[in-house]
Amino acid sequence: MASQSNPPGELNEFESPGVGGDRRKPWISIRPRQPRISFRVDRRVPLVLAVLSAIALVSLVLNVSLGEYPVPLWDAVKTIFGLSDNPDYVLVINSLRLPRALVALMVGAGLAVAGTISQAIAQNPLAAPSIIGINSGASLVAIIFLVVFPTADVTWLPVAAFLGAAAMALAIYCLAWIGSSSPIRLILVGIGLTAMTGAISSILITFGRIANVSQALVWLTGSVYGRTWQHLLPLLPWLVIFIPLSMVLARNLDALNLGDNLANGLGSRVEWTRGVLLLCTVALAGSSVATAGTVGFVGLMAPHLARQLVGPSHAGLIPVAALVGACLVEVSDLAGRILFAPTELPCGVITAIIGAPYFLWLLYRNR
């Protein structure tokens, strides 16, 4: 029990639990005999993960069952598991709605983890993946793709957008490098380059042909409309590799969050880990934005909500943020589909409607 490890003599003084001296450890230590590993997570993490998973699953099922052609909930569940013999259900759910709903979950998780890492690297709770140029880089390339080369094959759009995001992040990192990287330089250079690419994007949108421009604007808003298994599969490996990698690096994120000096003093190789973590952000946010466009505010909101649920230690924060992000985008997509049916709102509009006031509240609270 936790109390055994308390130093003797200290126990009597703070006998009343919960008042001031709470003797309970705020974390759960996990040390199996085999394999010989050990780690800890915040005490609140298991329950929070369970609840969020339930919310994600329920909203997923609702998202595939509701719509212009409603499918009863239980039939929807059966269809997902291949237990339905109604060919209409199979078509509507497994071919049309399920991949889209899954893409929504994945994009949300990717953006949320990318945001969590960005905020730790920048040591700034108001940072989001956009500060390292992900959104602006992807947007510019996507607009060029859709407006300047309207005849190009649209299946290459995600690839182009991803390359744009990666190139932009690399440019910011290199320009911010003066013998070493620094969080504040990354933010400032990021803002500068974002303004420049934003200007170019505006020019293209202003002078482009209206049909192409409206297509680009939908992409810019962020939407999972019409996403299929062909969109989902290329996104999957990015998440499967880089979310676990960022969880393995959780301790390094915690150290970086204390500032470069302390992280260095603790023996963390700051430049190396920051480089790897930036790569994680680019991979996660880049692939998500490439798949669904620039769904706004998820990378900013999800880490905050997650921190309020389980505190700032990254070992628990990353999976919780991932699920919060997944729920946000899934629920936004659901809301966008049914609120003004038959008109559909892109999920990016809904996340922005929730996110903008939340952002203002954050700014207000941080003074």
Partner: protein, 272 residues
């Protein structure tokens, strides 16, 4: 001779030159800091005290020269190996919002962990011990931002203690604290030195506190060691004049007998 004294020397610098972006702050410095002692670095603003401290902790890579930790060149030690032997607490560190004292202290275990062993029994024990030593038991599960300045500084020191290093460098550990909290922090450091034999090197602004708490004082002036020795030997009216450009009287501290510096103001003199 060198071999004999090597065991009593914690940190040595050889021809150490430190610079920020080409601005040389410390030039060709030779220095030895005693092991198991409290050493205070004093000097005017911009004399290079903090820079020297950062250089000795490898936070700032030297232009030329070497820093040795008990005979080992720190530049050649792997980062984690160095962090197991030498801890540094920079000036006014900041923690993310909502981080609790215990979580902060737990981060001191970083150099003792690896990808597989992220939270061992020993980690747990050291964190408990650090919290007990700094008397933070009552606040262990409170977020850092809800504590007073003195408690917060104790939490940072607890983190450095959990790091379990023999040598501890602190950059102005009493800045922004009121007088009572300043003494509280200095008393804690004194106890760590006496009870656990830790080598403590700290930058201090207050000469009288330096004299009271340090076994040895190193005064710096424009990147050079001006004087080094026991407070009773080096803290003279001449030193204060040469280092700070200030006239003063040195009298025995009526409480502990160490030198006490009473500055003489140009404007505000006796019974004016």
């Amino acid at each position: 001779m060198l071999l004999d004294t090597a065991s009593q020397i914690a940190l040595t610098t050889r021809k150490l030159t430190l610079a920020y972006d080409g601005n040389v702050i410390i030039r060709g410095l030779d220095l030895a800091i005693a092991k198991g002692q409290v050493t205070a670095l004093v000097g005017p603003n911009g004399c290079g005290k903090s820079t020297l401290l950062r250089g000795m902790a490898q936070l700032l890579k030297p232009k030329t020269g070497t820093v040795y930790l008990e005979g080992d060149a720190i530049a050649k030690l792997p980062a984690k190996t160095l962090a197991k032997r030498l801890g540094i607490l920079p000036q006014s560190p900041s923690a993310p919002e909502g981080l609790t004292v215990r979580e902060l202290v737990a981060q001191g275990r970083y150099p003792h962990q690896n990808w597989l062993q992220q939270w061992s029994q020993e980690d747990e024990r050291q964190v408990d011990q650090a919290i007990a030593t700094t008397d933070l038991y009552e606040f262990a599960n409170r977020p850092l931002d809800t504590l007073s300045g003195g408690q917060r500084q104790r939490a940072w020191i607890a983190m450095a203690l959990a790091q379990d290093t023999e040598t501890l460098l602190l950059d102005e550990p009493t800045t922004y604290l009121d007088l009572a909290h300043q003494l509280e922090v200095l008393d804690l450091l004194h106890e760590l030195n006496v009870n656990q034999g830790k080598t403590i090197v700290m930058v201090l602004h207050d000469l009288n506190q330096a004299c009271r708490y340090a076994n040895e004082i190193i005064s710096l002036r424009s990147g050079q060691v001006h004087a080094q020795g026991k407070p009773e030997e080096v803290m003279t009216e001449q030193l204060v004049r040469e280092v700070f450009g200030l006239d003063s009287r040195i009298i025995p501290d009526p409480v502990v007998g160490t030198p006490l510096c009473v500055p003489i103001s140009q404007v505000r003199s006796r019974k004016s």
